[in-house]
């Protein structure tokens, strides 16, 4: 149980760091939530109000707007840039400081970075549950959705951490992390509901774990997924986590060897 101590300390430290400048934190939050939502909304506006469509992929204007508002809650929880921090540590040699400590650097960086997201997740959960209740959705679904979104957050970091180990080999893994984030942007459902994909392209998002970040939680929270679909998603998320845990162990082992042999 002693091992819990540093984890809590790291969480606390990360949260303090993220919220040290409260107004900036708030502006940042509003900006990163508002702008994507605005862009989604204007797409639906253009299709329905200007273009005169009444239905897109079986969804009405209201359906799409509901998706937009709900997805904002979960897109705030996804990601974080601590995989970049990990890469920077490897690249600049800052990792050496951590290797001497009795904590896993991969986990330390994650916990410190996720603190902010947990805080945001808490806020989103409260807002979401109240909103769900107000419009007649099941607030418990929102709770489940948020758990799925948090699992997604872990997957996202794990994938990033695995990519970051490339920095052991090349000097720079920055570009690949950027590419990953951009792919995630479209395949997570943050920009558009994934069921808008043409039928013959649906497999594209289904084969990545990214839809578990935003699209999945949003669908479940809106009652568009039943419990079976949700349960499947949770299982799939866990499978990905196991997969990446092993993946990181392997790549990290190889990477560290190289790091140490090069003298950092």
């Amino acid at each position: 149980m002693l091992r819990l101590k540093w984890r809590i300390a790291a969480l606390k430290n990360g949260l303090q760091d993220a919220t040290a400048y409260r107004i900036e934190f708030l502006l940042q939050l509003i900006g990163s939530a508002g702008v994507p939502a605005l862009i989604q909304w204007l797409l639906w506006y253009a299709i329905f109000k200007i273009g005169g469509q009444t239905e897109v992929a079986g969804m009405s204007y209201t359906d799409l707007l509901a998706y937009t508002w709900m997805s904002v809650l979960f897109s705030q929880v996804r990601g974080g840039d601590h995989d970049f921090a990990l890469m920077e540590m490897i690249r600049s040699g800052g990792l050496s400081n951590y290797l001497l400590r009795p904590v896993s650097p991969v986990e330390f960086v994650y916990i410190r970075g996720v603190a902010e997201k947990l805080f945001v997740a808490g806020i989103c959960l409260v807002i979401g549950m109240i909103a769900s209740f107000a419009v007649g959705l099941n607030p418990l679904h929102l709770l489940g959705a948020m758990i799925l979104a948090l699992l997604g957050n872990i997957i996202h970091y794990q994938l990033g951490a695995m990519i970051a180990t490339l920095a052991f080999l090349w000097e720079e893994a920055y570009a690949i992390l950027m590419v990953k984030n951009m792919v995630v942007q479209i395949l997570s459902g943050e920009l558009i509901p994934l069921n808008l994909f043409p039928a013959n392209m649906q497999w594209v998002w289904k084969m990545t774990p990214f839809y578990l970040y935003v699209y999945g939680p949003t669908q479940f929270a809106l009652g568009r997924w039943n419990l079976t679909e949700f349960g499947n998603a949770i299982l799939i998320a866990c499978a990905w986590i196991v997969f990446f845990t092993v993946g990181i162990k392997v790549t990290w082992k190889f990477g560290i060897k190289r790091y140490l042999s090069l003298g950092g």
Partner: protein
């Protein structure tokens, strides 16, 4: 006057040469960054691809028209990335690390030196890539082409100029706050508004991106101007807004310098 101009051109070309030499050393890095930009445009393409799979037009814009717009936007952004982007990221060093001191003692405008120092010449490939996209979709987009292609450099210049003056307005606060990073990030959040044709936006948003935050001038208005032409009123707005920003930037640059000179010790 002529001599001054020669001097500025010379300095610019030497900065260009020096950056080229620098990049040659770190080639692999820069190519991966090129790749990032290409993926970025690919994401934008697929986004619209998905949308157009569900609807034939978007606020009157057909799919080829949007792709034409993306090409123009990508080209204009590539120009900004090539010549200016990094200088703005390094703007804070200018003040916080006192690099401005050295610049101020040189017999040349300090802003000119500061804004031409860092380039990313490899990104120029994306300019050609963007133009290639525009050419590919020009005809289906209804752009009459021919001699009208001659207007393209002018519109790209408008796009870059807009990015410069707006980005500058977001950077200049470094004289007053050490954490200008948050503002730079905000610029990029708003910048997302530039990635869609302005016709899509509902009234007031459209008004904002055509005036106070003229992100529409970066790609959307140029693309629209090439396809449909603009009304006189819109030309005047562009001139008015850009000169407004220019004056704003200059005013705060001067005020910032004054503050720098009274606060630094």
């Amino acid at each position: 006057m002529n001599r001054t101009l020669t001097k500025y051109f010379r300095v610019f070309f030497i900065q260009l040469k020096n950056n080229f030499v620098r990049e040659a050393v770190y080639r692999s890095n820069l190519f991966t960054m090129l790749f990032v930009d290409i993926i970025w445009i690919a994401v934008e393409f697929s986004l619209f691809g998905v949308i157009y799979a569900n609807t034939p037009t978007l606020a009157g814009w057909t799919q080829p028209q949007v792709y034409f717009f993306l090409g123009i936007f990508f080209a204009s952004d590539a120009l900004f990335t090539t010549f200016f982007q990094r200088n703005f990221w390094n703007f804070s060093d200018l003040v916080n690390k006192g690099e401005l001191d050295i610049l101020l003692t040189k017999p040349i405008h300090p802003l000119f030196l500061a804004l031409t120092r860092w380039m990313n010449i490899t990104a120029i490939f994306n300019l050609f890539f963007g133009i290639a996209i525009a050419i590919r979709y020009a005809e289906p987009a209804g752009f009459s082409g021919g001699m009208r292609w001659a207007l393209l450099p002018g519109w790209l210049a408008v796009g870059v100029l807009t990015a410069i003056v707006v980005r500058f307005a977001f950077s200049i606060w470094i004289f007053w706050t050490e954490r200008s990073f948050a503002l730079s990030r905000m610029y990029y959040q708003f910048f997302a508004l530039a990635t869609k044709p302005d016709a899509l936006y509902p009234g007031w948003v459209r008004y904002v991106i055509l005036t106070f935050l003229p992100f529409a001038f970066i790609g959307s208005v140029p693309a629209r101007a090439l396809i449909h032409g603009l009304e006189m009123r819109e030309f005047l707005t562009i001139v008015f807004v850009l000169s407004g920003f220019f004056i704003f930037d200059l005013f705060f640059w001067k005020k910032g310098l004054k503050r720098y000179q009274s606060a630094s010790s």
